[in-house]
Symmetry: C2
Subunit: 338 residues, 2 copies
Amino acid sequence: MTINDVARLAKVSKKTISRVINNSPLLKQETRDRVLAIIEEVGYQPDPQARGLAFGSSFLIGLIYDNPNAQYVIDMQQGILDVIRGSGYELVVHPCSRQHPNFLSDIRKFVERQRLFGVVLPPRVSEDEALIEMFEAIGCPYSRIAAVSLDLPGRMVVTHDRQGAAEAARHLADLGHRVIGHISGPASFRSALERHQGVIEGLASRGLALDPRYYAEGGYTFESGILAAQTLLALDPRPTAIFAGNDEMAAGVIRAAREMGLDIPRDLSVIGFDDSPMAGKVWPPLTTVRLPIREMGAIAARKLLAQAPGAVPEQRETLVEPSLVVRRSTAAPLLSRV
Amino acid sequence: MTINDVARLAKVSKKTISRVINNSPLLKQETRDRVLAIIEEVGYQPDPQARGLAFGSSFLIGLIYDNPNAQYVIDMQQGILDVIRGSGYELVVHPCSRQHPNFLSDIRKFVERQRLFGVVLPPRVSEDEALIEMFEAIGCPYSRIAAVSLDLPGRMVVTHDRQGAAEAARHLADLGHRVIGHISGPASFRSALERHQGVIEGLASRGLALDPRYYAEGGYTFESGILAAQTLLALDPRPTAIFAGNDEMAAGVIRAAREMGLDIPRDLSVIGFDDSPMAGKVWPPLTTVRLPIREMGAIAARKLLAQAPGAVPEQRETLVEPSLVVRRSTAAPLLSRV
DNA sequence: CTGAAAGCGCTTACAG
DNA sequence: CTGAAAGCGCTTACAG
């Protein structure tokens, strides 16, 4: 069933069918309705390959990512799919490594060969300016997700990591903690910087300061969380609470604390970030900060689709608010409870 | 840069370029080498959309899944990508729900519209015979991953879940456990049936039987693990070990045990299945059974590609062996240690 | 508001 | 072993 078959059935030219498919405005409503009815009846689906060939651009959206958090990527894929479902677009996944020597040229080949309609860029690739310049150079539309505004409003989904971290810090302060540690992700991640800054601001709003001795830079990994926690927990006075930049590191903190014989939350409160699948399943269930990843993926997809030739371009930046999920890994410090 | 440009540069017809691209055997080696050199030099990449249109089939592989385990899906995607990298194929993801009323017709539309080259089917969709019949009917190549052989050898990647579960059961028996519980996944999953059977066989090889009272059917979810564990742990005598059909449920068992004041592994040994990201991060680190998901994805992709018109078809079924990962959630039972 | 012609970048089927 | 013609299913650019 091709455009020619439908044209024959509708007794119009195939150009008219094409106009219906592409929602052309210059078309009699009656003609449109009649054609639409026939399309529906015979179950005609325009061939995206043929359209793409004629258009000079495919109906494929690329998700380019280097995020090791599986749940994050799956949720993001789902969010993008929520939006493109029924639109004729499909999602092509492209994990990558910024470490790889051909990082840029591989992605460029991928985008050019497939004539991708555009790409969605979650962190950390979303922060890679060389990558962005390449997309600009080849004219590939994109939308970026990051913890700070890095681009034109219509291309940005900004996550308010700073606020989420501030809320976490205030939660600890309000529980009565005064000696609070923070383990951030790598300083090369905007999210790590923003969360760090959020901790500082959140504590400041309660008249507290983040003592630099109680700050450590981690690698967003379980092992780095263990290592950093061992350092911080050896300090005198020992921190009564630690905010880790993500759940992986928070799990590491819990592990390190346990191996020192500390009880959580009695001896140490712990907060993570991400609300990953394990967060509610470890013991004690982890207090953490949640970002609506799936929704972020959906918004990013919408902003990308809005860059299509006929569409109305997005003008406004979207700010996504995280929320604190209080579970049982945080409590008042021992001293203030005595 | 199109096939015409390359033809002009090489001073041959575009048909010859096409023959080079498609590895046609009837081509002088010298011509091939000369064309290849020019292709390399100018960085020509054949347009998959144009090729697909002419071929009547795209260069897209679909991953259709309804697996809620994010790490599983990501690893599988990675495995498929490992194989198709550089082949000109790309991976399109298509999560779905077997509950959805349009489940079959949605997938059919997807496959037909995109003219997918073929699809990779992990469990549970891989076990859906109505889905398979549909693929047969429309002539869509596929490869299936399942815990039992369900199809022609060339289309099957069989995971030896039964053996993995048997190994887990033997591990418990060899530690000295005699009262062992098993919580399986839903009986509508082949993996659940196979793992269950594996437990029975593993115990039998040590002269033990799985008392039906100590068996419960769960839903492969954390909550179902908690519920089932509460039932099993109320039994008299209390089981000294529980093998859960996946890590999610094993985490639920640990939770339930903890809330009853039981220490793991002192009072209860727990084994899971999957070696999910949380397995090594919970306390105690979970003994579990690992399947090489990424490798399975790669094999499935290879079997799919082997169904291409020119390729040599796969004749043999692939059997994938799981491995037991012993961590700290299993130990000898208290009595035998006294 | 609608249509006939040419073209997107490839491949198949047929020649030679 | 290589090539000229026709076609895959659409769209663009031009008519009317």
